[in-house]
């Protein structure tokens, strides 16, 4: 596996919406490379034809019936919002991504 470059770290930070200082970028690049180097041996295992496990317990088809239930009173969650007005959550200007 090639080592992660600082540009890749910046890209990953953008995907994760983490603003990182220069120092953090440097340190994380080092940390991530150390960790991934330790995990390199995963790549050596032959997993041809092995199905991945994304769920711990084999279970399927669990649904709820289509029955409406009471919602939360608005003030119980809106009071926790950093900014709210007139029954809405309020966010700063949106620039398209």
């Amino acid at each position: 596996m090639p080592r992660l470059s600082i540009e890749e770290v910046e890209h990953v930070a953008w995907l994760a919406r983490l603003r990182l200082s220069e120092a953090e970028k440097q340190r994380l690049t080092g940390d991530l490379n150390t960790i991934l180097a330790h995990f390199e041996r995963l790549q050596q295992l032959d997993t041809t034809g092995v199905e991945g496990t994304s769920h711990a317990v084999p279970m399927s088809n669990r649904y709820r019936d289509d029955e409406p239930r009471p919602s939360l009173p608005r003030e119980e969650f809106l009071r926790e919002a950093p900014d709210a007005r007139d029954a809405f959550f309020v966010v700063p200007r949106i620039v398209e991504t």
Binding site: R64, P68, F77, F89, I94
Partner: protein, 483 residues
């Protein structure tokens, strides 16, 4: 360059999102009712509060299964949800629960009728996901967020690039919408955003098979904007190519007011959704009994019905479309039931449907639940007419009363004394009186002014308030005038 691209063809694929007709949201019990006060239909789950967990709505899953069946898809017996990760203030978990490589339905098709031809458009996939909240850009510096729509079940239907013009795009959307409305999966209300369409458009030199640069179009809120937007985009791309410009893969927004498309600002590497299997939801597994039960519950679909009306009943395509192409399959159900009960000429039933039924139905705002008249009653009325017990004119009156009261025609005829005056004995005095009142007319008919005969028929009908058997009236008048 211009000559090289003198002939181009358009290739479109369509992504259609439909909010599913359920009482409660996709993963929680909040109501899906449209138009509620902001943030009044929210709970920990659809607000994405820490610790909350989703539980799928069975009805939503079944809507997608039914749609997949109606679109002739293959059902994946085992399907899973994935998380689609991206940040946006209307997406409270910062991921949308969606489907990725194993959607519920794949590889189907929809037959679309356009200018008398049937065109088969392949369906790539039908999948289930959740809707986002809604943003309101009320002030320049801030946006307001309402999460009522967050978590409403949403279905995505993706077509193959089998669509070649703006007309076809619109026809495809119409046909798909009709199927969804008929099977009860969607209310199809584009103006409320419950049906949304995103075509991707590319053009290529005619006769080539490679797809050109794809442009995705957003913000198409009506059939008209789909048509206009696609047409605009085709023209724009054609001209750009003719000028030798390179097209870029991008998302463009249809501007309803200026009637143009404009690029949406995008960051070049912004879209890496990092899909991965949703660990909070167990897989969906379908088996034959479940699927067959749903299949058995599907209504006859518009295209099949269309074919039947034209082929079996000899209706014109136009007549068939008037009955079928409406949000209420009940209208053509009514036609079918009336025809079954009547057993006579389908055209005759169809004519009544086209003229009287649809006139009254449209005037009443296409409100199906308010329709009182029963198909058996229409059939019975036609039979009364066939037997000569009521006249055509009376039939119209009877139908209007059936429409408003829901009473059977026999009762209406009885109550209102609308039976045909069918015996010579009953008619003789009336006819004699009419002849006596108009000696001059009788004289001119005798002299060969045949045109005035109908005047006398009309006078008799008027005197009997339309109840006289027109055939009998004719014969008796002739006998007496010849007399």
């Amino acid at each position: 360059m211009a000559t090289l691209f003198a002939k181009v063809e358009t290739v479109l694929g369509m992504e259609v999102h439909a909010e599913l007709l359920t009482q409660s949201k996709m993963f929680c019990g909040c109501s899906t009712q449209f138009g509620a006060p902001p943030n009044s239909q929210c709970c920990p789950v659809c607000l994405g509060l820490p610790g909350s967990l989703p539980v799928p709505n069975r009805a939503a899953v079944e809507h997608v299964l039914r749609t997949a069946l109606a679109l002739n898809c293959r059902i994946n017996w085992r399907s899973i949800f994935h998380r689609k990760n991206y940040f946006y203030p209307d997406l409270p978990k910062a991921y949308q629960i969606s489907q990725y490589d194993v959607p519920i339905g794949v590889d189907g098709y929809l037959d679309v009728r356009l200018d008398g031809e049937v065109k088969r458009i392949r369906i790539r996939r039908v999948h289930l996901e959740e809707d986002t909240g809604k943003l309101f850009h009320i002030e320049a510096a801030t946006s307001f967020v309402d999460y009522n729509r967050s978590g409403v079940p949403l279905m995505e239907v993706v077509s193959e690039p089998d669509i070649y013009s703006a007309e076809e795009a619109r026809a495809y959307l119409r046909a798909l919408r009709l199927v969804l409305v008929w099977i009860g999966a969607s209310d199809g209300k584009m103006e409320q955003g419950s049906l949304r369409c995103e075509p991707n458009i590319s053009i290529r030199p005619a006769g080539t098979t490679e797809l050109g640069t794809k442009v995705e179009l957003k913000n198409l809120n009506s059939f008209q904007s789909v048509y206009q937007g696609v047409a605009y985009e085709v023209e724009r791309q054609t001209q750009a190519l003719a000028r030798g410009e390179e097209l870029v893969q991008e998302t463009r927004r249809w501007d309803e007011e200026r009637l143009i498309t404009a690029p949406m600002r995008t960051k070049e590497y912004a879209h890496d959704y990092r899909y991965f299997p949703e660990p909070d939801l167990v897989p969906l597994e379908f088996d034959a009994p479940w699927i067959e039960r749903l299949r058995a519950g599907l209504p006859e679909l518009p295209e099949a019905r269309y074919a039947r009306y034209v082929r079996d009943y000899g209706l014109s395509e136009y007549e068939a479309s008037l009955l079928i192409e409406r949000d209420q399959p009940q209208v053509s159900d009514f036609f079918d039931a009336a025809l079954r009960a009547y057993g006579g000429d389908p055209k005759r039933v169809s004519n009544w449907m086209q003229s009287d039924f649809l006139r009254l139905f449209n005037a009443a705002g296409e409100d199906w639940p308010a329709v009182k008249v029963r198909p058996e009653h229409l059939a019975a009325m036609l039979k009364l007419q066939d037997k000569g017990q009521i006249s055509g004119k009376i039939a119209k009156e009877v139908f209007e009363v059936m429409w408003t009261t829901g009473k059977p025609p026999e009762q209406i005829v009885q109550e209102r004394g609308l039976q045909v005056i069918g015996t010579e004995e009953d008619l003789a005095p009336i006819i004699d009186q009419v002849l006596a009142q108009h000696p001059a007319v009788v004289e001119s008919i005798r002299k060969g002014e045949e045109g005035k005969f109908n005047f006398l028929v009309g006078q008799v009908m008027r005197a009997t308030r339309g109840k006289a058997d027109p055939g009998l009236v004719n014969r008796m008048l002739r006998e007496r005038i010849a007399g």
